[in-house]
Structures are given as structure tokens and as C-alpha cells.
Amino acid sequence: MARTTVEKPPESGKSATDAVRHPSSSEKRWTDETLAPTLKKTPEQPIGAFTGTNLSPDGTARFTSISGVPVNRLYTSADLPADWDEHSDQYLGQPGQPPYTRGIHATGYRGKLWTMRQFSGFATPEETNQRYQYLLANGGGGLSVAFDLPTLMGYDSDHPNSEGEVGKCGVAIDSLEDMEILFSGIDLEKTTVSMTINSPASVLWAMYLVVAEKQGADWKKISGTLQNDILKEYIAQKEYIYPPAPSMRLVIDTFEFGSLFTPRFNPISISGYHIREAGSTALQELAFTIYDGVEYIEWALRRGLNVDDFAPRLSFFFNSHNDFFEEIAKFRASRKIWYHLMTDRFHAKNTRSQLMRFHTQTAGVSLTAQQPMNNIARVAIQALAAVLGGTQSLHTDSYDEALALPTEDAARIALRTQQIIAYESGVAQTVDPFGGSYFIENLTLKMEQGAFEYFAKLDAMGGMVRAIEQGFPQKEIAESSYQYQRAVEAKEKIIVGVNDFSVDEASTKILYIDESVREGQIAKLRLLRSRRSQEAVDHTLAALRKVAAMDPLALPGHISEANTMPYILDCVRAYATVGEICEALREIYGTYEESSWT
């Protein structure tokens, strides 16, 4: 099947923002009578050095967002499209109604607060299980698993490449046995669990499903989210194993399997978070992420899946950075853009297919190692933007994360920050409180317009996989990242405690993980390998290799014969390890090396 056609931006909003302004007579009067004398008396001063990004060609101060987008002095009705009032239903609509700019729920957070889902994982499954019990006991609403680098790369703890990495950036999981320990005492039918795992996503998901099965939980009732977003790995985070085509096939296998067997589980969380952390602008994060969503749908349609069978379970994951208004606009625009793509481009009929549901995490990259307590304030501002943007769930970073994985105290303060926003600030009491703000609506429209411009470019390249192979998003992000760093170096952008307001300080108490975790995991693996039936492991791995080499094709209501998920489940039940299962797939698919774009 060919790709769907190139989409133009929806009619409303097309000419929204760059049109010539027609200020009202009141605004004109203000400009002459109030503004002019003020500027004469007190010229505007940029925030940061009066050079580079902060300097207009005419020598006056220029103000820009953290993404380098110019911010005007004042926004009025003249900054909205001329037909704004007339077509407000297309531009804005009402909460819970298309185009969902104002949110996917008619009552906002009044019926249900966002889920406070703290990402956590470190050292052994035993230690991480303790942290999960602690977070749940302190009012955390769901879990979110951070796996260590060997797990993310599909290596067991005893692989030579795992040396020095076991349990450092997340929890070490080698086999079903570890997964059983990780969730021991946690009811998987009642707790929603998100798992940050990508290239080996289907393997870890299979382990999770088997743990649920052993607990007696009903697969139809369990809910949670698998990150499983390989495209952003090639673009930004770079934890990939196989080349793009077989990787996409594994993702589509999970879509198909999930739509039939785990209807409440999100098989993917299409993630802009890592794109932003790698240095993109807010707009690039928005555009590349949503277009990744387009790419997954294209591949699923090519498999023969029906859009409304899997699209309701596509979920998203955004970053919330420091620039408050820009972030709110990004979140609001994301829902509107997705609605238009799902209806105009993919002709989705199911309302749930048209809803952009997203998780948000505050920007790890914005945290400073200097005066780390200041990060509590940054996180609060970022979390507030996510809530005002209508996120479905939220992770707040701990103040010590620029130094190490969070201590228990730091993790508690991060969770308390969300609770203060939810229970004390009052912002959750009314729906989309920024709706109708001249500034926010103007920014939201610009985000939408900018995203569709990127979509046209990406369509012209033949889709995201092609664009990645050409290094397009990678180069765009590297350029933005470098420009931002130059602005910081020149003090055109101020980072409190880093390039201004710095002090000499003592070091902070951190969570330190030593090499004993690896030794423990290696001992467990040795024991497991001596106890399990090697024959069953060999047999299930051989069956997986065979099916992985075949081309899957969907039949309505049935799982493709070559869908890898049932075979991976068999491997997991036989206690094959993450490394063994990924190695079997490596044998069939090979591995991927990116050309270096610097």
C-alpha cells in the first residue's frame, strides 16, 4: 500500500499568525499615547547579554523563547486570525470536543486528576521493588519502570559489554525471574505500569504479561504503557539494536497483539521527550514526535491493520521545559494537530483514535548540577505548564538528577511538587484556563502551522525512516542544540547558578550504585541457567528465529501467523533471558550503526 497523501494544514489556522496585524483603535491609541513615551523614558532591556539572539537588526532589545522564537511585547485580538470569533469552533472548540485544543475531557481534571507517575528504577529488582512500594505508599498513582542500559540494549548482566553499566541508569532485568521480583506484592490488575523500553520492548512486555498471568490478572483488564518508540531512538536517544525496517515490524507486531489481547494497554508511547532532551526546539519536538506517530500508522496500514483497531491505544510522551507559555501552547497544539491528522489523513472513525493522550516529564536537561535545590523551582514551573497544557499523566524530576539517580528524599519532594499543584494551587479546578489568551492562542496556532510545515518536508522525503537515514531530524536537533549552547556561553540565555548567580558550594549527597549489583545479577543468572530446562529454551528460541524471518500479514480479527509476540511469550515462559531473546533476533535482523552526524 502506498503512503497516504501529503496533507496541507487544516483550513482554519492556515493564515492565522503571519498575516499583517490590524490593531484596534484602542491598541493604536495605546501605542501612541502610552507605549511611545514609556519606551522613550525606559528603553526595553533584554534578559541576558545585549548581543546575538537578544539584539534586533534595528539595535533594540529582542526577546525570544528558550527555542529562539521571537516573543512580542503584547498580544491583542490583532494577533488572532480575523475570522477567529466566527470560526472559533474550528480554531478552538470546547473541552472534550474536536479539535480538542481545550482538552480531551469535558471536565478537565474535575472528574479525575492526572496520574502522578514517577519514573524510577535502579540497581537490583529487589531494591527497585522497595522504591515502588514507597512511591505507592506515598500517593503515587502508577509506576514507571526505568531499565538499565544493558537491558535497554538487549544484553544480559553477564555480557562483556555490560561491564560497569549494570543497575546504573535503571533496574537490571535479565529474565522473567527478575520481573517477578520487581512486581512482587504489586497487583498488576489494579496498578498501571509504564515501561521505558524500546528496542527489546516486546521482550520486556512479554515478561510483564507473564508476571500478570502468574498473579491471576486478566490481560483484558491490565493497563499500562510500553514506550516501544524506536523512531525517536534513531533520532535522539540512540538505544537501538536492529535496523529500522525489522524494528518497525516488531512495533507493529505489538500493535496487532495488543489490539486483540490487551485492549487497555498502550503498546506505544510516541516520545518527544528524548528529542527535546537531545536539544531540539519545542516545535521540533512537537513536529518530529507527531510525525513519528504518522510513520507508525503508515507501517501498520501497510501490514493490513485497520486504523481504528489500534489507533485508540497510541499514546504520546512530551517534555515540559522551562519556557512556560511555549510549553502550554505545544501541548494544546498537539491535540489539535493529531485530531486533524487522524480525521483528514487517516480517516479514523472512532473518536478514541482521534484523541491525543499524553504523558509529560519535566525537562531533565534543564536541571543544573550547580545549586541543585534550585531545580525544585524549575520542576514546579515545568510541572505547572504540563498541567495547564492538559497532560494525562506526569513525572516530576528530582532535584538531584543532574548528579545521579534520585535519592528517596529527592524523589519524595518531586512527587510532593505535583501534589501541591493538584491540591493547593487551584489550577486543576477549571478547564483549560489559558483558552482565549491572545498570547497562548497565537503561540498554539504558530505551533500548529510550524508542525505542518515540517510534515510537508518529511512527507517529501518519503517518511520518517527515510528522513532518519538521511540524518535530517538528527541534524536539525544538533543545530538547535548548538545554537542554544552558544547563546548560553554568550550569556544571552541565563541559567541561574550556572552562567550567572553562581556560588562556591559543597557537594550534594547522592545515590551511589557500585559494581556489586552486577556481581549479584551474574550469580542469579548462573543459578537460573542451571535450573531451567535448556531444551525448552533452545526450542522456543528456534521457533522465534523461524517466525522472525517470515513476513507478517494481518487477517481481520486474527493475529498474523508471523507475529513475534506469541513466540516471545513462549521464550519468556521458558525463562530465556533478555540477552538470549535479543540475540536470536539479532541473528535474523542484524544490527544498526548510524552514520555519525556531528
Binding site: 542500559l149 553499566e165 541508569c169 536539544g279 536537561v365 548548538y482 541559567i495
Partner: protein
Amino acid sequence: MMESTKMPQDILPIRVLVAKPGLDGHDRGAKVIARALRDAGMEVIYTGLRQTPEMIVHAAIQEDVQCIGLSILSGAHNAIVPRIMALLKENGIDDILVILGGTIPDQDIAFLKEQGVAAIFGPGTPLETTVEFIRKNAKPRDVAA
């Protein structure tokens, strides 16, 4: 542009290998520093991701660099750095400046310096600090005929 007292052969650009060892893929820092060093007039070779200590030392020798800049954010530094230093020694190399950037806990700094790391640059270090350190401390290149 250049100090007039120096002859052209004395001012050959400094060659730097920017290397990303370990399993981690977070390469924002490595890429930014590579570009900043290049903008500062140095010749920069970036290894790409997931390089083993053997690959890094091999590349350093092949490329005849004066400085190796390692970027490690995953916590694997105590395993990786000593192996790189040992391999350099095995190859009889003692004139390459080795510097390290990333998230390195304070308590590991003394150990890494004992291993021979000349400097460790944590989050928030100005690019200029790193550039200046390399300029001051990299051994000049032999001028070939």
C-alpha cells in the same frame, strides 16, 4: 589572525578524538563539544556511539591525536576509564591528554585522576573552559617533514 612570531609549522591544529564509550546513547554533549573544539580551530574526530576501550585507543593511535575527550553519562566510568588508560600504557603512549566529561560523582574524581585523567568537566562547564584546558595542556605535535 595568529601570533606573528610563530612559524606555520608550529601552529598545526591540535587533534582531538571525541569518544563515546559504553552503552549510553546520550550524545548531545559529545556533539556540542566536538563542534565547539572544531570552531576553536582544532581537528576533531568523533568516534560515534558505543565504542569499546580497544576501539578508542586504536582510533587515537590511528588518528595521531594529542587529546582524547571521553563523554560518559551512564555511571560506567570506573569500569571504562581504567581500561582505556591501561591500553594506552600497553601501547607505550604517555603523551595523549585524556579528559572526561559527563556526570561523574565527586567521590570518583580522585580515583579517575590517579588513573591518569587530566581533567573532569561536569555539567554546566563553559565550552571555553574545556577549549582552554586542551590548548594549555595538549602536547604539541611533532612536525613531520
